[in-house]
């Protein structure tokens, strides 16, 4: 039992981080804290993918020794196909899906590349989120969800009263 837990230490850490992030994103009333929670959540995903790539006893995914020669020896085929085959063979080898005939075991390079993209996506999300919060702060004077909701509720109530009185509608939220 203890072994079972300890062997998967990375996954426990990832699950913990994920839950902390998710809880923060939902439970915090401060918008900035929510974004921090979101960031934690996304980071845990990056860790998740990176630990998928690791293989016991594997080396960095750069072909060496015989593998290098067999895949990059000057053949008639264009280089591109060789590189593609090699990359795919490494990835396959990482999952022991087929006999790939490599001399060494390489860790899987693919998740690292994927996470590079995910990091960029995360940065873009964070930038847009922070920009929104700056604008919210300018428009409402607060970054607390409760305050913002109270202000919106007041506006909505005024609008409903307007509607009920069937007066021509005067516009709700003031322009930032």
């Amino acid at each position: 039992m203890v072994d079972f837990v300890l062997e998967r230490g990375n996954y426990w850490a990832i699950i913990g981080l994920m839950m902390i992030g998710l809880y923060m994103a939902f439970a915090a009333t401060n918008l900035i804290k929510r974004l921090i929670g979101l960031g934690t959540f996304q980071t845990s995903i990056i860790l998740f993918y990176i630990s998928l790539a690791r293989i016991d006893g594997a080396t960095a995914p750069i072909l060496m020794g015989k593998d290098y020669k067999s895949y990059s020896g000057g053949g008639k085929n264009p280089e591109g196909e060789h590189a593609g085959e090699a990359a795919y063979a490494v990835a396959e080898g990482a999952y022991e899906a087929t006999e790939v005939g490599l001399e060494y075991v390489y860790s899987n390079p693919l998740p690292h590349v994927l996470m590079l993209t995910a990091i960029v996506v995360g940065v873009a999300t964070l930038a847009v989120g922070l920009a929104l919060i700056v604008r919210i702060r300018e428009a409402y004077g607060s970054v607390e969800i409760d305050d913002i909701m109270a202000m919106d509720l007041a506006v909505a109530k005024a609008e409903a009263a307007d509607d009920a009185a069937e007066r021509p509608l005067s516009h709700g939220g003031s322009v930032a």
Partner: protein
């Protein structure tokens, strides 16, 4: 007609249509961002989306040229799948691409006057750049055959969408919390999706969707696959506004600029539903989704709940855009109900409704945008008596509204009829009753609006007699005519959706 198009266009465009469809708006986006004039930016946006529409037609022609529907595979960068990223177009993809590009094209034509009125002129070119990026992302989701690439495109479109929604702040500051809420929910949805893809990757070692479906057959009992399935289902459900996960949608639709609401309502959730269908049927496979993971127990009740709960919520709204937003969630329920049947007829009915709802909601929001542009105000009171002062705009609104209810001779009737038929075939008569009941609710909420528009005196009697500008009326009536055409003769659309459903059931890819 479509086949003729493939003959006219140069071979380069035809062979590379899958890539060009996505690349054209992508290239135009940075160009447009640097333009000083908003009008020029608008021209480029129309050009880019129009080009994508032609490419989508070419793809549809190519797919339809074979009896059972061909599959076009396009290897990005010449790297053959499954190692490389592949764009894979079958009937379903082509259908969704046609919907997205068509609505995008019409939206960008109609958008100019409302954008000029609602967005500060210094921001107009950036606005169109964001719109093109969003459009690129949606097209990419519908075209790609790679699970991780799908996530990237999903996020590209979503991040642009948050920006677009937030730009409604010029009119009403509530757009900002709405956008921030949408950002939070949308990002969590996308993150869930990517965790799910990670589990699948861990179990199979591939990201290509066709390859995934093959390899998943061997590892179906794997717990990682089950976990991945759950994550993907919830993640895409969030993006698609599946019933209990739809909280971000009403505010985002109600406060974003009119143009954005129209475009999003017609495309964004549809694309997410497409992705959900693709994963449920193609990647995981019918047996796994419906028997192994008993999807019926989740998808069907959620669809029914959406149809009833959100239709009720729509009944009590006084803001027209908010009412239409709740109705959108209810319509997503119809689509998911069709999908949850797990039969070819059910999926086909769901897909028909997916297209029809895009056309209907697009036209409705377009008409609302026209009315808002001329008369300001989106509450029910503001719409009183508009039928007399803006007959063309409001007639289009009325026809689309009737179509939403499901009145015969309109597209809405065709899809609801197909859905009820599919339900009865399976013996789900109680679900058919719920569909009818939800339609009655639609009669109530649309009826309230239509009554105010056509049979009540204007609140302010000296409201001037004025139509929405022609540039709004043309695309609006285009959509209405498409709607009536589907209503009168649904053979073309049903042929497509039947083909798409058949390819989904014909053994994965």
């Amino acid at each position: 007609m479509i086949l003729a198009l493939t003959d006219i266009l140069p071979a380069l465009l035809v062979t590379h249509a899958p890539a060009l469809l996505v690349v054209a708006p992508m290239v135009l986006a940075p160009l447009v961002a640097m333009l000083p004039s908003g009008r020029l930016a608008w021209g480029f946006a129309v050009l880019g989306t129009g080009f994508s529409l032609i490419m989508a037609l070419v793809l549809l022609g190519q797919v339809q040229s074979v009896e059972d529907g061909a599959v076009i595979s396009y290897a990005m960068g010449g790297w053959a799948p499954p190692a490389g990223i592949e764009f894979r177009i079958d009937t379903l993809n082509a259908l969704v691409l046609l919907l997205v590009t068509g609505m995008g094209f019409l939206a960008s034509i109609f958008g100019w006057p409302t954008i000029k009125a609602e967005i500060a002129s210094a921001k107009t070119s950036m606005f169109f750049a964001a719109y093109l990026v969003c459009f690129t992302g949606l097209c990419g989701v519908a075209a790609t055959g790679d699970a991780f690439n799908l996530f990237v495109f999903l996020e590209i479109s979503s991040i642009a969408t948050y920006v677009l929604v937030a730009l409604g702040a010029g009119r009403d500051r509530r757009a900002l919390p709405a956008a921030s809420n949408y950002l939070l929910m949308g990002t969590i949805g996308a993150s869930f999706f990517v965790v799910g893809v990670g589990f699948l990757f861990a179990a199979t070692g591939t990201l290509n969707m066709a390859e995934l479906s093959l390899r998943l057959e061997d590892v179906e009992d794997n717990k990682a696959v089950l976990a991945g399935y759950a994550f993907i289902f919830v993640g895409l459900g969030l993006k698609a506004a599946m019933f209990p996960l739809h909280q971000w949608l009403p505010n985002a639709y109600a406060y974003s600029p009119s143009f954005v609401t129209m475009f999003l309502a017609a495309t964004a959730t549809k694309v997410a539903i497409y992705a959900l269908i693709r994963f449920l049927f193609s990647v995981f496979g019918l047996e796994f989704s419906f028997e192994g993971a008993s999807l019926i127990l989740i998808l069907m009740p959620m669809g029914l709940a959406a149809m009833i709960a959100c239709s009720f919520q729509a009944v009590f709204q006084t803001d027209i855009r908010r009412m239409l937003a709740y109705s959108s969630v209810a319509q997503v329920g119809y689509i998911l109900l069709g999908v949850s049947l797990g039969t070819a007829a059910g999926v086909s009915a769901g897909l028909v409704h997916l297209v029809n709802h895009g056309v209907i909601k697009g036209a409705l929001f377009m008409a609302v945008a026209g009315a808002v542009l001329v008369y300001q105000g989106t509450s029910l009171n503001d719409f009183r008596g508009l039928g007399r002062s803006a007959p063309w705009t409001m007639t289009a609104f009325g026809i689309s509204g009737l179509s939403l209810i499901g009145v015969p001779l309109t597209a809405g009737f065709q899809s609801k009829f197909a859905l009820v038929q599919a339900l009865l075939e399976q013996g789900w008569w109680w679900a058919a009753i719920v569909v009818v009941f939800s339609s009655v609710l639609a009669v109530i909420y649309m009826g309230r609006v239509l009554e105010a528009v056509f049979f009540q005196a204007p609140l302010n009697p000296n409201k001037r007699q004025k139509e929405a500008p022609l540039i709004i009326l043309l695309p609006l009536w285009g959509l209405v005519l498409v709607n009536l055409w589907i209503g009168l003769n649904g053979r073309f659309l049903f042929g497509l959706t039947d083909g798409a459903a058949a390819s989904l059931f014909g053994g994965g890819f």
